[in-house]
Amino acid sequence: MRIATEARSGTAVATAATLAALAVIPFLPIGDRLHLILTIGVIYAIAAVGIDVFSGYCGQLTFGNFAFMAIGAYASAILAQDFGWPPWATILGSIGMAALVGLLLGAAAVRLPHLGTAMGTFFFATTVAVALRGATLAPLTQGPTGLPVQKVTIFGDDITPQQIYWLAWILLAVVTVVSYRYANSRAGMALRLIKRSEVVAESMGVHVISHKLYAFVWSAITAGLAGFVYAQALEYIIPEAFPGFESVILLTMAIIGGLGSIAGPIIGAVGFSIVGELTRSMGDVRQIAFALLLLANLVFIPGGMYSLIAWARGALRGNRARGDEAVRNQLSAPPAGPMFTHREPRPRDVSVAPVLQLRDVVVRFGGITAINSVSLDVARGTIHAVIGPNGAGKTTLLNCISGLQPHQGDIHFKADRIVGLTARTVRHRGLSRTFQNPSLVADLTVEENVCMGTYGSTPASPFLDVLPLRSTLRRDREAMRLAHAALDAVGFPADRRGLTASSLSLADQKIVDIARAIAGSPELLLLDEPTAGLAESEIEQIAAVLQKVNHEHGMTIVVIAHHIGFVRAVADYVTVLDFGTCIAEGLPEDVTRSKEVMDVFLGAEDD
C-alpha cells in the first residue's frame, strides 16, 4: 500500500514562512505552558519532516518512527550516563543509533510488498516499547524505572526550557533544509517516481530498494535527532514516555499537515500539539472531539493543512490551476494534420546482426502458456511492431525483454545475453521502455519527468544529491539539457514543458512518456501500446512522433499496437502474436492483409 497524495515541488516559500513563524511565536505573550507545548510540537516536527520524505515523497507508510525517537532519546541518556560522553556529543549517538537501527530494519522492511513496510514498522514500534520496559535491555535502559538525562550546557549553564525551544528550532531548520533539498534533488525525483510506480522506476534504472532504504534511514535519523531534544525537554525518560501508538500519532501529524510538502508536517505537528492543548479542558470529550477533528481534516482536507495554504496562495494571486493553462494551450495548438503519413517500409539488411534477438521464449502462468516459444529478430534502426488481440501475450513479451518477467528461452541485446538481468540493469544496458499507462509523476513538470529518463544512464548518490556540489549541479543541468533535447525530438512545445504532468491530455502524456524513454539515449525503445485510449488524430500524432524519433535519431523501436492503420503507417516489420504464439511476421502490408491475421483480428479495429 502506498500513499497517493500529491508530492509538491516549490514549497520553499511556505516552508521558510513556517519556520519564520515558529521563530516569531515565542516572542509573543503565549505563556510558559504554551511555550512548552510549542517546543514539543517543534520536536515532533523534526521527526514529521523526516516521515514526509519517506511517506510524502516516496509514498511508503511508516508506523514506527516514534520508536526511533525513543532510540535517539535513550541513546543520548545512556551514552552520557554509562559511557561518560559529553551531553552535546550524545547527539551523534542519537543520530547514529537511529540510523543503524533504521538501516537494519529498513533493509528488510522496504522489501516487503503492499502493507509490509507499514506492518513491519508498526511491529517494530511495539517491540521497542516492550523492549524498553523488559529485562533484556534493563542493564542499559533501567527497564520501567527509566533514566535521568544529563542536560546539555550552554556557556556553562544547563540548557533552559527557552533554549531547548531554540535548539529544537535550529535542528528543525537543518532537517527541513536537508529534506527540502532531498525531496527536490534527483534522489527526491526518484522517490516520487517510486511513489508513482516501483515497476516503472526500476525500468527507468532507479534502484528502488536503495532509494526506499535511504529515505527510511533519513526518516529514522530525523526521529533520532528529535529524540535527543525530547530527552532534553523531559530530563528523565521512562518507557511510558514512548508508547508504541505514538508512532501512529506522528504519522497522523504529517498527514493532517499535508504530506509531500515539507512545510505541511511542520504545521501538522505544531498544530496538533496546540489543538491538543486548547482542547485539554474538555476532559473525556477531548479524545472524541480530537478524533472527530482529525477525521474531518482527513475527509474535507485530504491534502492536509498545506493544501489550504496552496489554495490561499492561488486565490491571492488570482491564478487558476495550471491545468487551465494546459487546456488553453491545447485549444490553441495547431489542428491535427492529415491521417497517417504513410511511408514505405525499409528492407531488412540480413547481413547486419539484429539489435534484439529472441529465441524460443516461453512464459507459463501456472497451467497457462502466455508466451509459447516465440522467436523474433529486431533489425537495428527499424520500427518493429508486435500486434495481436487482447491476451495475445504482447505485454508479457515486452516484460520478458525489459527484465520484468522471468521466462525460459534466450534473449540477446546487442549480442549480450540479458536473460535474468533486473529491469534496472537492462535499462543500464541501453534498453528503455514505456508502459501502457504513461506512469508520469503527476505532480512533477513535463521537463522534470523527462529528466528522470536520464537516471538509467548517469550515476548518482542520494548523499551527494542533497549537497549543491558543482558536479551535481553540472549533472543536473546536463540532465535538463537531455530532457529538452528529447522533448524537441518528440516535438513537444517548449512553452508547455513547465506544466505539471497531471494537467496534460492522455496523448500528450504518452508523448512525454516517449520523450522520457528516449532522454537517456537508449539504443532500443520498447513502447507498450502508445496508442491505447487515443482518438484517431492523437494516434496520428503519436505515429508522427515515432517516425521522427526513428528517422531523425536512428532509434530502434519495438512497438505494441492494436491499431492496424497505425502499424501500417509506422512499422518496417510486424510480428503477430495470438495466444502467445507467433502466427505471422513480415512486412506490414503483407502481414495485415493475410487471412490468418484478419481472422485473428476479426472484430478489432481496422482502417
Binding site: V130, G143, P144, T145, G146, I238, A241, S281, G283
Partner: protein, 395 residues
C-alpha cells in the same frame, strides 16, 4: 462576514473561554513564593483524568478534591483553605511536564498526589529545581523512596508484595508460591522481596512470570502454573489483566490450593464486577487503606457522596481522600508561618500519627520518607473486599 473573520472570532472565543475557565482565574488573595497565602494554600496535581489510565486514576484526585472541599467548607485549616489545582496529563509525558511547569510557576506549595509511574520522573526534576515538596504520589517508582523532598503514603510494590507474602504465609501457613508480575519499575526488587519473604516464612518460591499489560492469552501461563500446583499465586498487574488471568486459571482448573494474593487493583469495581464470583473467599488483597464499606471509611464515603457523587467509592478514591486527610492533619500541626520547611518538620515529627481513619498510624521519619507503616489485608467476600487485619511493612 468573511470566513477569516469567523475563524478569528471563534479562536478568540476559545481563548477567552479557556482563559476564564483556567484554574485560579477567580479573584483570590496573594500567595507567597512557596504557594502559601494568609487564607489559602495551593497544591498542584498532575493526574491522568483521561486516557488509558483515567478510569482508575481520576477517582484518586476526586478523593483529594472532595475532602479538601469538605475541609474548606468548615473554614479550612487555621482559617486557610486548601486549593488543589488538578490538571489532566492524559498519562502523556509532555502534558505532565507542561502541568508540572505550570504548577511550579504558580507557585504551588507542593506537587500533590498523582497516579501512575509516568508523573514522578517528570515532576521530580521540576520539584527539585523549584525546591518544592512532592507529597503522596501513588506510584511504584523506586526513585520516589530515595528523593529527599518526596513523602509517600503508598509503599513500593516490592514492599507490598514482600510484606503481604509474609503476612499471608504467617496467617494461612507456609506453602508454594508463584508470582505473576507486570513490567513495573523495580521488577527485580519485587521478585527478590517475594523470594526473601517466602524463604523467611519457610515457604517455597516455585517460579514467576513477567507479563506485559497486553498479553494476548493467559492460557499457557495458567497451564504452567497448574503444573506447579502452587498454594498461593501472587499477582501484580492491572485490574483487566488480573481478571483475564483469573479466567484462564479457572478455565484450566489451575487455581491455587489456598489463595490468590493481589494488590490495590483487585479491589477495584472493574475487577470485582468481572471476577468476584470466581474468587469468592479465595483472594486476599493488600490495601493502603481500609476497603470501601469498612466503618472507618464512612467519613470519606459521605464526603465523596456529597461533593463528588459521580466518583465511585473504591480503593483509589479512598486513598485520595486519605491522602487529603493526611495533608490537612499535617497542615493543622504545622505552626505559623507555614513554609515548606516547617511542614516537613511536622511530617518528620510524626510517630504513628493517626492522621486518617482510613490508614494505620503514619511515621515519615525514616530514610525513605514512607509514611505508611502497615497495610490492610482484605478478603474478597460476596463481591466486596472486607478488611481482615493489618500487616507491617518493612521500614
Amino acid at each position: 462576514m468573511t470566513t477569516l473573520d469567523n475563524c478569528l472570532r471563534r479562536a478568540l472565543a476559545v481563548l477567552l473561554v479557556a482563559g476564564m475557565s483556567a484554574p485560579g482565574y477567580a479573584q483570590t488573595s496573594a500567595i507567597n513564593k512557596e504557594g502559601v497565602g494568609q487564607d489559602r494554600i495551593l497544591l498542584g496535581t498532575s493526574n491522568p483524568l483521561t486516557g488509558p489510565v483515567g478510569p482508575p486514576c481520576k477517582p484518586m484526585s476526586d478523593g483529594h478534591l472532595a475532602w479538601f472541599q469538605h475541609v474548606n467548607d468548615q473554614g479550612g485549616v487555621h482559617g486557610r483553605k486548601i486549593e488543589n489545582i488538578v490538571l489532566d496529563d492524559a498519562y502523556k509525558a509532555p502534558e505532565a511536564l507542561a502541568n508540572g511547569r505550570q504548577l511550579a510557576a504558580k507557585p504551588v506549595f507542593a506537587f500533590f498526589g498523582g497516579c501512575g509511574t509516568l508523573q514522578p520522573p517528570v515532576l521530580m526534576p521540576i520539584a527539585k529545581q523549584n525546591k518544592m515538596l512532592y507529597l503522596f504520589p501513588s506510584a511504584g517508582n523506586p526513585e520516589l523512596m530515595t528523593t529527599p523532598f518526596v513523602y509517600s503514603l503508598f509503599p513500593l510494590y516490592s514492599d507490598q508484595n514482600g510484606a503481604v507474602t509474609a503476612a499471608t504465609m504467617k496467617k494461612y501457613g507456609p506453602g508454594k508460591i508463584f508470582f505473576v508480575v507486570a513490567d513495573v519499575p523495580g521488577v527485580e526488587d519485587n521478585i527478590a522481596a517475594v523470594k526473601a519473604a517466602t524463604e523467611q516464612a519457610q515457604g517455597s518460591y516455585v517460579g514467576d512470570e513477567r507479563v506485559t499489560q497486553r498479553e494476548p492469552d493467559y492460557t499457557p501461563l495458567a497451564l504452567k502454573i497448574k503444573a506447579l500446583k502452587p498454594d498461593y499465586i501472587l499477582i501484580l498487574t492491572t485490574a483487566a489483566a488480573t481478571a483475564r488471568l483469573i479466567n484462564a486459571l479457572v478455565a484450566q482448573d489451575a487455581m491455587p490450593t489456598k489463595y490468590l494474593v493481589g494488590t490495590l487493583t483487585m479491589a477495584t469495581p472493574a475487577f470485582l464486577n468481572a471476577s468476584a464470583s470466581l474468587v469468592n473467599d479465595k483472594a486476599l488483597i493488600a490495601l493502603p487503606t481500609v476497603p470501601p464499606g469498612d466503618p472507618r471509611a464512612k467519613a470519606c464515603e459521605s464526603v465523596l457522596k456529597k461533593y463528588s457523587p459521580e466518583t465511585p467509592v473504591d480503593p483509589f478514591s479512598l486513598f485520595g481522600c486519605a491522602a487529603a486527610q493526611v495533608f490537612a492533619a499535617a497542615l493543622e500541626d504545622t505552626p505559623e508561618p507555614v513554609t515548606r520547611e516547617s511542614f516537613q518538620k511536622t511530617l518528620l515529627g510524626w510517630k504513628e500519627k493517626q492522621a486518617s481513619e482510613l490508614m494505620p498510624g503514619i511515621t515519615f521519619n525514616n530514610p525513605r520518607h514512607l509514611g505508611a507503616t502497615e497495610m490492610v489485608l482484605a478478603r474478597i467476600v460476596d463481591g466486596k473486599s472486607v478488611a481482615e487485619e493489618t500487616f507491617p511493612l518493612p521500614q
